[in-house]
């Protein structure tokens, strides 16, 4: 969760890795990509922290063992002013799930596309772009995907998008969820 927690030097990192298939997998990958930090979370779950500028190189390396890109999850950390982009990878041969985490600033949210590694990333990137406004350089189909253009411009899954006030502005009178005293909202 917290990046600072994992900022330990490499020697400690290596000793922390357990002697299991997950530990060996992480060790092999870290050996090829020294800029990344890796750890084992539990059985069949491993985790990598990668700086945003090297994410494409790292995923290209990782795609040899992790054949499938299951999802690109974005978490909006509003207080820190950062988007956390989590590439969820699955290795069919090893049976291990990997979180590849990277952080990018909210104001200048740009990442290279991974469509050339996994063509399915096109859909995930379109979705992440639509809901958070992250620009994936090289993806030709960014734009309104699931939403209408009006909602698309707001990037609704950002934490600073206030849903209640938006719904009130659009639907106005229809939006009636007051209690009997007409003072409080009822959920």
């Amino acid at each position: 969760m917290d990046m600072n927690e994992n900022k330990t030097n490499e020697k400690v990192e290596e000793t922390r890795l357990p002697d299991t298939k997950e530990g060996k997998l992480v060790k092999a990958l870290i050996g090829k990509a020294p800029y990344a930090e890796g750890s084992v979370r539990r059985e069949r779950r491993v985790e990598f922290h990668v700086p945003a500028e090297r994410i494409h190189d790292f995923l290209e390396l990782a795609s040899e063992t992790f054949e499938m890109l299951m999802q690109i999850s974005v978490v909006d950390w509003l207080k820190e002013g950062e988007f956390e982009v989590v590439y969820q990878l699955w290795s069919v041969s090893e049976g291990v799930h990997a979180f590849v985490r990277t952080r990018i600033p909210r104001e200048d949210a740009k990442l290279p596309t991974v469509m050339d590694i996994w063509p399915v990333a096109e859909t995930y990137e379109r979705e992440a772009h639509e809901f958070f406004g992250i620009i994936f350089k090289g993806n030709p189909r960014l734009g309104p995907f699931l939403l209408e253009p009006r909602e698309y411009e707001k990037h609704p899954l950002r934490k600073d998008f206030n849903m209640l006030s938006y719904v009130k502005a659009i639907y106005g009178d229809d939006f009636d969820r007051y209690d009997e005293s007409k003072t409080n909202y009822v959920i």
């Binding site: 849903m163 209640l164 719904v167 229809d174």
Partner: protein, 200 residues
Amino acid sequence: MDERKDFGENDGVIHYELQEFKLFEPLFKWARKKSLWIVAFCTGCGGIEMPPLATARYDFERFGIMPNPAPRMADLFLITGYVTPKTLKRIIITYEMMQDPKYLLAHGSCPINGGVYWDSYNVVKQLDKYIPIDVAIAGCMPRPEAVMDGIMEIMRKIETGEADGWKRYRENYEYYRRNQDKLFGEGWREKEAKRWLAWI
């Protein structure tokens, strides 16, 4: 419009209030009630209760109800669940394609006031503002028995002439059109069709 003159004083619109039609009105009502064809457009989650309704256990074909792919030949439009603005555009176009008289049955809590999605940014809160609803069934999701009850209710309303949503839509077209344009913006019908041609 010179071509319009060919239709005579009716302006190309058949007025059901004419004397000749009134004579046969009871027969028409009976026929309409007993052969409700449904547009096969299952919006939202309620579509999953359609197959049980159409098959052995609840079998609505015994009431003369049948799903039909073409909106031109359908009488009954089931709004089976929440409606997003994107779907509402298609619903309006499909509803306008249907021939008069047409009936609209809203299924579930969501078309009434948003239901569970009361604060969602992408769900239409009150469907009645955009198209006229004849019968609404509450519940999430309504059991097939409740839907059958709603269909019986619409049959009763056809018999008594209370199911007049299609007349309301024609008479108050300005009101409905204003609400639709307010939600989607002016000229949405043309824009929606053109939006996709750039991709092809």
